[in-house]
């Protein structure tokens, strides 16, 4: 068990392409950290540098206090689960899980004990004699995890392990991974592009964009207190709406003339806001059907273009001024229709004001 430290990590590819532009990250012992971001943000490269599969252009990576920059993967005491599982097709499940131990010349009995134990944790004991070809996607995923567990490494590395599974299995395996982590408590670095996976699994989420870390924090914090426009837009589904806005006289002015008063308690925070070009950010779940009488809410009239009934909620898509693709979450009981204006209520306690230029949340 160990902590992992990344210090000023840079990855340059030929032709001066910077995939990772100098990131710092401390991962505590036993912690489950998820690196999340769009494709090309450098999250996989970072993970592969921790694994030793990519050289580090500059900076240091330490595992358990030892700088591992120059240590080849096999001596870093890590285990990795790949997106396509990377099971050895010619070996049985048992041999797949035992391979790392065999190469390290563990005694036979010890190998068997460890594989059996991991198989028990993952509930794959009946599959030990099979070849990977005879397994379903979820079972292969378990074997890949088993291969990591038996090694009892300092760190688990997961590279988008659920991307190849269908939606239902993905949810199931997500729970499984969390359960395993709670059992073995190994420090884990997990890479995904799926923010739901990040939110559900992580102790701390690291949001990356264009080779840099945008924000690090526990899932709830990222959701409620995003630091940048990128994080605000990336976390949450459907994504947060951003509308160009100005602040005057303690109220947010939106294009089209809507005026939304800022709650008393939050006014001090936006003291410097008047006169700036701002973005008004609000999540669809905080933009709901009109319910008069609730405190700290403000009304906006919109004309929905598309109505999507989801069962437990109804999504209304609209645009307001130049802001396209806005979305509101309505109660399913509301009978909204396309092109018929309705009044929505914005929860002003959960809105954000952002500096339009820098993208920082005020």
């Amino acid at each position: 068990m160990a902590q992992v430290s990344l210090r000023k990590i840079v990855k340059m590819y030929e032709g001066d392409v910077q995939a990772v532009k100098g990131i710092d990250l401390e991962i505590e012992d036993h912690e489950f950290v998820v690196l999340v971001g769009p494709s090309g943000c450098g999250k996989s490269t970072t993970l592969r540098m921790i694994a030793g599969l990519e050289e580090i252009s500059s900076g240091d990576i330490a595992i358990g206090g030892t700088v591992v920059n120059d240590i080849p993967p096999r001596d870093r005491d890590i285990a990795m689960v790949f997106q396509n599982y990377a099971l050895y097709p010619h070996m049985s499940v048992f041999d797949n899980m035992a391979f790392g131990l065999t190469l390290r010349k563990f005694p036979k009995a010890e190998i068997k004990r460890r594989v059996d134990e991991a198989a028990r944790i993952l509930d794959i004991t009946p599959l030990l004699d099979r070849k990977p070809k005879a397994l379903s996607g979820g079972q292969r995923q378990r074997v890949a995890m088993g291969r990591a567990i038996v090694r009892d490494p300092k760190v688990f590395l997961f590279d988008e392990p659920l991307s190849n599974l269908d939606a239902k299995l993905r949810v199931q395996m997500r729970t499984e991974i969390k359960k395993v982590h709670q059992t073995v408590r190994t420090t884990t670095v997990y890479v995904t592009h799926d923010q739901v996976e990040a939110m559900t699994l992580a102790d701390r989420v690291v949001v990356m964009n264009q080779g840099l870390i945008e924000q690090v924090g526990p899932p709830q914090e990222l959701y409620h207190h995003p630091a940048t426009r990128f994080v605000a837009g990336f976390i949450g589904s459907p994504a947060m709406n951003f509308l160009p806005a100005r602040v005057e006289n303690g109220a947010v002015h939106l294009p089209g003339g809507a005026v939304l008063p800022i709650p008393e308690a939050r006014r001090a925070r936006y003291a410097g806001a008047p006169g700036m070009d701002l973005l008004f950010g609000i999540r669809p779940e905080h933009l709901t059907d009109h319910r008069p009488g609730l405190p700290n809410r403000a009304d906006i009239t919109i004309t929905p273009e598309v109505i999507e009934p989801m069962g437990m909620e109804t999504l209304a898509h609209f645009h307001l001024g130049e802001a396209r693709d806005c979305c509101a979450r309505l109660e399913p009981t509301v009978l909204a229709e396309p092109n018929v204006p309705i009044v929505l209520s914005a929860d002003m306690n959960n809105m954000h004001l952002l500096d339009a230029k820098s993208g920082r949340v005020l």
Partner: protein
């Protein structure tokens, strides 16, 4: 999260370039080089060096004592036999490759159309000519072409046609060689086309059918473009092998009658090995090189271009 205090001393840490991971990479190059060394030796010692040596040989005189420059080529250009060899090789290669390509294409389509279950069996039987070493199967053909007891002429006589002097008349001897070559090579084309046909996704045909393409249009606009690369590589490969063919000519006619069925390889053999004029033999076989290189260049350029377009 920020580790400023720690990063101070890491600046002083050795650059990764000197580290053992880099050493690991360098060692990888060394291992890789050692692994490819035997291959390099084969290519350099048994292909590149002989090629260069062959060029050198072709400039020597018969006893290999002094250089006569392009003398061997000049002498060759003055002999009718050599020009016969050039024409015979070209006509032989082109006719045979076209015939093999068409027959192979037809059979591949026919195979592709019958139920999948039966395909294996038919394919298995149709590939037999390719599997038997050609020098040996040509012996069988030789016997079938036998002037006094030809089994082919027997079959022809059933329909009342006169017997054909297969290996006696130059024109028939040439035809006989082409027939055997096509017999050996058509299955190869068939199997390559069949592999190509199976690699065309069924949806493309369905989409084309829904777009209103007739059977021929589907062949013209879907099958052929999708197979273009495999077709051209197969044709190139077959062209080279046919052009440089030796065994069939050697067994069937050995160049006769009157040296009229010689191709480059058999003529080079005759001049170089049998008559002992090594330099001139080398010159004859070297003459194949520019012709083959030009073919290879154009075919491979087409393949590369199509590959790029489809990326």
């Amino acid at each position: 999260m920020s580790a400023d205090t720690l990063s101070v001393d890491t600046r002083l840490a050795p650059q990764p370039g000197t580290g053992s991971l880099r050493r690991f990479t360098r060692r990888r190059s060394t291992i890789a080089f050692l692994m490819t060394l035997p291959l390099l030796l084969v290519i350099v010692c048994l292909v590149a060096y002989p090629a260069a040596y062959g060029v050198y040989l072709s400039t020597l005189n018969r006893t290999m004592e002094r250089s006569i420059g392009l003398g061997n080529f000049e002498i060759l250009f003055d002999t009718d036999t050599f020009w016969n060899v050039v024409w015979q090789s070209c006509i032989f290669a082109i006719t045979a490759v076209i015939a093999k390509a068409l027959i192979g294409f037809w059979l591949a389509h026919m195979l592709h159309h019958i139920p999948t279950k039966g395909q294996r069996k038919w394919r298995g039987m149709l590939l037999v000519p390719w599997v038997i070493p050609p020098a040996l199967s040509t012996l069988g053909w030789w016997w079938m072409y036998d002037p006094s007891y030809s089994s082919i002429n027997y079959l022809i006589s059933i329909v009342g046609a006169p017997p054909v002097p297969w290996l006696g008349e130059p024109i028939w001897a040439r035809a006989a060689i082409i027939i055997v070559n096509v017999w050996v090579g058509a299955p190869f084309f068939m199997i390559m086309y069949l592999a190509a046909l199976k690699s065309v996704p069924e949806q493309l045909y369905e989409a084309a059918a829904i777009d209103g393409a007739t059977g021929f249009q589907r062949l013209r606009y879907v099958t052929v473009p999708m197979m273009a690369n495999i077709i051209s590589i197969t044709v190139l490969f077959s062209l080279i092998v046919t052009f440089a063919n030796y065994d069939i000519v050697r067994v069937l006619t050995n160049g006769g009658p009157r040296d009229l069925t010689h191709v480059f390889a058999s003529y080079a053999f005759q001049v170089g090995i049998l008559s002992g004029n090594i330099p001139r033999g080398a010159a004859v076989s070297l003459f194949m090189l520019p012709i083959l290189a030009v073919c290879a260049f154009f075919v491979l350029r087409g393949v590369t271009r199509r590959n790029k377009e489809q990326m």
